[in-house]
């Protein structure tokens, strides 16, 4: 947070400048231009919000028209890859942080360097988020949104068990003790729910004080800290949370469990708030417990321009507007879309006042200790290797050290 606070003054001042600067980039031509923008985060709930951002942009730039294309996240990359491979990539599109490097290194993205300071105001963004969309020192994208993961807990279940609510000072030990007390398998009530997956593992690894890759870029997650993290994750199914067999194949199993009041603690993201407020469950949130240290997961989406676009100047203007303009920030916050990745505390004031959860400040407190996922070119394969290793430990009782050693060797095979 300290880093954030320091940059508030600059950011607020910059806010006004962005709009002005955005209209003045010398390269933008006056002829009519149609830009395409491909996104996975708008459909189905935020199409109108995106339309209003587009309308505001077009009002500022009457010669530019933005055509929005949408796809569901699950189908998005199939379509995007075909379009890029087929030589007709959309002018601008959305990428999540984990996939960003793959596209940056494949040469598909426009280098935005010449627009930084001229159309793009770097002070407008969270420094860490802005840095996330660079590769080898080149700015290939702008951070658009972030969502993070917190510990969501059911206050009623804690009250009934006579336990104190979780605090930001909790570590794994306090969490485990509470989860065991709260679990009542016969009543179908479970203490905690944390998916056994790559995304939970890299974060738990950081919480245990370990690193995923060492300084030389070799997989280092088979360390004692990695074993601790894997043990923390794999010990839960079948004890304080349902077995993987129970969960398997049921979509949104955890959401259903929590909203029906049968889950005490849930590691999940801030995108759940709207649904939780509808469900009527009495809940609050807190920063996730760490172990050796705190570490929180952040999902970031960015906007990029295609290297082959015919209109690079307009494309840069549009993604700067899409990610940083006051219109965008207000629209995203008002519709509880994902949070804009701008460093602008004033804009977030209204967001913080919405309850529940009462402790909404935890969303920002979590940003003090961020663990970004390790990212390599063959990202998806790496994620699968780690997730499968963890599942082997749970399902087949594989030895944790051996499973991690094998996974580390496989990941080295991907990067080497």
């Amino acid at each position: 947070m300290t880093r954030t606070r320091r940059s508030i003054g600059a950011a607020v001042a910059a806010m006004a400048l962005v709009a002005v600067a955005a209209t003045q980039h010398a390269g933008a031509s006056a002829e009519d231009v149609t830009l395409s923008y491909f996104t996975f985060s708008a459909a189905p709930d935020h199409l109108e919000d995106l339309d209003s951002i587009v309308a505001a942009f077009e009002a500022e730039h009457p010669n530019v028209q933005v055509e929005v294309q949408t796809a569901a996240y699950a189908d998005y990359f199939t379509s995007l890859q075909t379009q890029i491979a087929g030589g007709s990539a959309p002018d601008t599109f959305e990428l999540n942080y984990e996939n960003f490097v793959t596209y940056a290194r494949s040469g598909a993205l426009l280098d935005l360097g010449s627009y930084v300071g001229d159309g793009i105001d770097p002070a407008r963004y969270y420094p860490l988020a802005l840095e996330g969309f660079t590769d080898g020192g080149t700015q290939y994208g702008l951070p658009a949104t972030f969502s993070n993961v917190v510990l969501i807990y059911n206050k009623t279940l804690f009250d009934e068990a006579g336990l104190d609510y979780p605090t930001a000072e909790w570590t794994w030990a306090e969490y485990t003790a509470a989860a065991e007390t709260l679990t009542d398998v016969e009543a179908g009530v479970y203490g905690g729910f944390q998916p056994v997956s790559f995304f939970e593992f890299y974060k738990s690894l950081a919480q245990a004080g370990g690193v995923f890759f060492d300084a030389d870029g070799n997989a280092a997650f088979n360390s004692p800290e990695g074993v601790a993290a894997a043990e923390w994750l794999t010990s839960k199914p079948g004890t304080v949370m349902p077995t993987l067999a129970d969960i398997g194949g049921t979509p949104d199993f955890d959401t259903a469990l929590f909203t029906s009041g049968k889950l005490a603690m849930w590691h999940n993201g801030i995108w759940q708030f709207a649904g939780l407020n509808e469900s009527g469950v009495d809940y609050d949130i807190v920063v996730e417990p760490g172990d050796a240290q705190q570490a929180n997961a952040v999902f970031m989406n960015g906007a990029v321009a295609s290297a082959g676009t015919d209109h690079p100047d307009e494309a840069a203007l549009w993604i700067a507007f899409l990610t940083g303009s006051p219109t965008t920030v207000d629209t995203r916050l008002a519709s509880s879309w994902e949070l804009p990745a701008v460093s602008d505390e004033e804009a977030f004031a209204g967001y913080l006042e919405i309850t529940p959860p009462d402790n909404r400040q935890a969303v920002f407190d979590a940003l003090d200790h961020i663990a970004l996922p390790p990212v390599i070119e063959r990202q998806q394969e790496m994620q699968d290797i780690v997730t499968q290793a963890l599942e082997r430990i749970v399902a087949d009782g594989a030895d944790i050290q051996e499973a991690l050693d094998e996974a580390a060797a496989e990941v080295d095979g991907l990067t080497g």
């Binding site: 395409s36 491909f38 996975f40 985060s41 459909a43 189905p44 709930d45 199409l47 055509e67 294309q69 949408t70 796809a71 569901a72 996240y73 699950a74 189908d75 199939t78 379509s79 075909t82 379009q83 491979a85 087929g86 030589g87 007709s88 959309p90 969502s147 179908g188 979509p251 949104d252 959401t255 259903a256 469990l257 909203t259 029906s260 049968k262 993201g269 995108w271 759940q272 649904g275 509808e278 469900s279 009527g280």
Partner: protein, 281 residues
Amino acid sequence: MDERSRSWSRTARTVSRYVVMAACAVMLVGPFVWMVLASVKTDADIRRIPPTIWPDPPTGDNYRRVIDTFPFWRFAANSLGVAVASTTLQLVTASMAAYAFARIQFRGRNVLFALYLATMMIPLQVVIVPLFIEMRNLGLVDSYAALLLPTIVSSFGVFLLRQAFLALPRELDEAAFIDGAGHFTVFARILLPLIAPVIAAFAVFAFMATWNSFLWPLVITQASDRHVTLPVGLARLNGRFSTDWNVIMAGSVMTIVPIVAFYLLTQRWVIRSVAFSGLKG
């Protein structure tokens, strides 16, 4: 005594047969019933644990949301238009090619036919990028033509109809040729009417395949909403982190209604064709 035990065992056999058939019916129809019921459930209702069967209270909101979120009718019209056009064209190309393979002697016929069959083994995923590039070079990306062109020749259809033609006695064509008929007359007026049930069955398969096809419409219609088909539109109802299953189910019900209607209209012929090919087989 003997008589009575025989009638008892007959009753037992009937009862057990009905039990097995009822169990099969429940297994087959169950998911559809669940889909329809889920499509009229509220958000809270569908997330309840343990899951409930009957919607309480039932709601029509999900259907309204499907229609409000996307240009649903446009997508439906696209789907219907493409499916009808594609089915018609597939019938024309497949029946003519099948006639040629079954009745006309020409050099390389068997090699060509084997090549046709071989294309059935290549999954779409393998050729999708080259196909996309081809469409781009033709300037057809995001057009009805691009949606339609790759689907209008079906090697499966050629195979199916060729087998049907082969099952017809050659004496029929010979008699017609003696009367002065040409190939086209024999094809259109003599043989085609005789394989009508197989044609109807293939029409159902072709219609269903086009109606449900996903991957190709997904990549080729992406540039705008103009040519998007229902399954692609429907997939956009999936959120990244969570999905409103009741809305998806409402969309699914709306998507399968035309298929069910088409099947009900043609089922007489489909069943006859299965019986027909069974007898001849």
